[in-house]
């Protein structure tokens, strides 16, 4: 039973689908109709209609072929396009890698610069706390001048003091000498007087 049904099925399938599917079927149908038209004994109108049908089928086949060729061309060109995009993206990736490496180096450089700036700032803070060198020098100069002036004055005063001392010394020694001389004179006068009076009484 199964085998008979199978045969039936096969026969039916072959009848319906014997030509294949789509374009293949069209070409088979075209061949069949062409041979039929060549061997047909019918009227010229029938022959013309059959001829027209054959031409139409031929046209359809050519159209389908043209479409397939175009699709094939399009696929080839799409492939090229994708290849181009692929190489482009690869190049972008490598250049991005290089840029990343560059940026990393830049960061290291920038960090060093920042470190140097911070060290500079720290030192500058300490230096600012100390007074300005020019000012200190000026103060030193002013103090020097004052010192010099004061020592000059001191010298002058000393000299004056010495002079006065000497003058007073001279004055006092002259007075003393005069006193001495006067005393001596008085004494010698007294002696003279005493000597004379005994001489006078003695006579």
């Amino acid at each position: 039973m199964g085998a008979v049904t199978d045969d039936e099925v096969i026969r039916k399938r072959l009848l319906i689908d014997g030509d294949g599917a789509g374009d293949d079927r069209r070409i088979n149908v075209l061949l069949k109709s062409f041979t039929k038209w060549c061997n047909s004994p019918g009227t010229p109108e029938e022959g013309f209609t059959q001829y027209q049908r054959v031409m139409a089928t031929l046209g359809q086949c050519e159209f389908s072929m043209g479409k397939t060729l175009m699709v094939y061309d399009m696929n080839l060109r799409e492939m090229e396009n994708y290849e181009k995009i692929y190489t482009n993206i690869e190049q972008n990736i490598t250049s991005a890698h290089e840029k990343i490496a560059e940026c990393k180096k830049e960061i290291q450089r920038a960090k060093r610069v920042r470190k140097n700036r911070q060290e500079y700032d720290a030192l500058a803070k300490v230096i600012q706390q100390h007074p300005d060198r020019h000012e200190t020098l000026k103060q030193l100069e002013a103090l020097d001048k004052e010192l010099q002036q004061l020592s000059q004055i001191k010298e002058n005063v000393d000299a004056k003091l010495e002079l006065r001392k000497k003058q007073f010394h001279v004055l006092l020694s002259t007075i003393q000498e005069l006193q001495q001389t006067l005393e001596n004179d008085e004494k010698s006068d007294n002696d003279d007087n005493n000597q004379e009076s005994p001489a006078q009484t003695g006579e």
Partner: protein
Amino acid sequence: MGPVELLHMSVFSQSFSPCGRFLAAGNSYGEIAVFSLSAALSPDATALSQKPVLTFTAHEGPVFSLLSTDCHLMSAGNGEISCWSWSDLTKKNVKPLWTKRPNYKSSLEIPEINAMVLNTRDNSLVVGGGDNNIHILDLEHGIFKTVLQGHSDYVHCLSLREREAEILSGGEDGAVRMWDSRTGQSVHCVEIYKYESCARPQYGKWISCLTTDSDWMLCGGGPSLSLWHLRSLSPTSIFTLTGCQRQTSFYQDMILAVGEGPSVAHCLLGGEVKAQIPCTPQSLNTLQLNTNSAEHRMLTVGGSSNHIDVFTNLSYRAFSLSF
């Protein structure tokens, strides 16, 4: 390790391996844990990759300082310095290459070592600790060649001034001393707490953090964190941060500081505090930047917790490694 011990753990020191792929951290129990950074940073990292790949007990006392050279890891424990090879540690071999002890005056007390720096110029290790002195160990010959004496209380922190070959040390006595590394003489002594702008008498006069980049110096602790210009020895900027800062670092054009308080402070050289990024530990002891590896660039901070916060972008905490 029980949960109580984990709760009471403090991370005191960190160091990145020379290849930049491992982090060693020392804690208050004398243990050092090595974390694999490539595992922790990989896209398919699990909770297990944030645990150490190796934990071992290095010293009896807390590990206050860790330092990495080209191929070795130096750790400072209870008065002694041990040297481990990084290649051995990555292969989980925990035998130290050598352990040395500086010559202490009295053998009764064993002072702790608080800070170590490496002087690459003459291949020597500068060590400062609880005996108020700074010892310099010549790494080529393995002997302690000089002792720098001058501090009247213990030395908290050390730093190297590369250009002028000077060692800077800060201590509990509030003084920052500058030593000439060649002659061993103290060149300058600045008492930070005597400057009115920096002093915070309510906190004390001790200096707990010191860092320098040859022209400038950052120091803080009891007095507020301040930026000093070394040539003129004058304070240029004061940073108003609450609490005492325990470690600071210069980074590009910024200053990073950690201390009391659950945050990392980002400050600008001018004195303004730009940002304070929150972290897991309640107070932080150590801050390290990984500059040895380009793909594992990160900042790690550790403190009074068994977690070490990792920052891949400085602005936020990415994840935490834990002991």
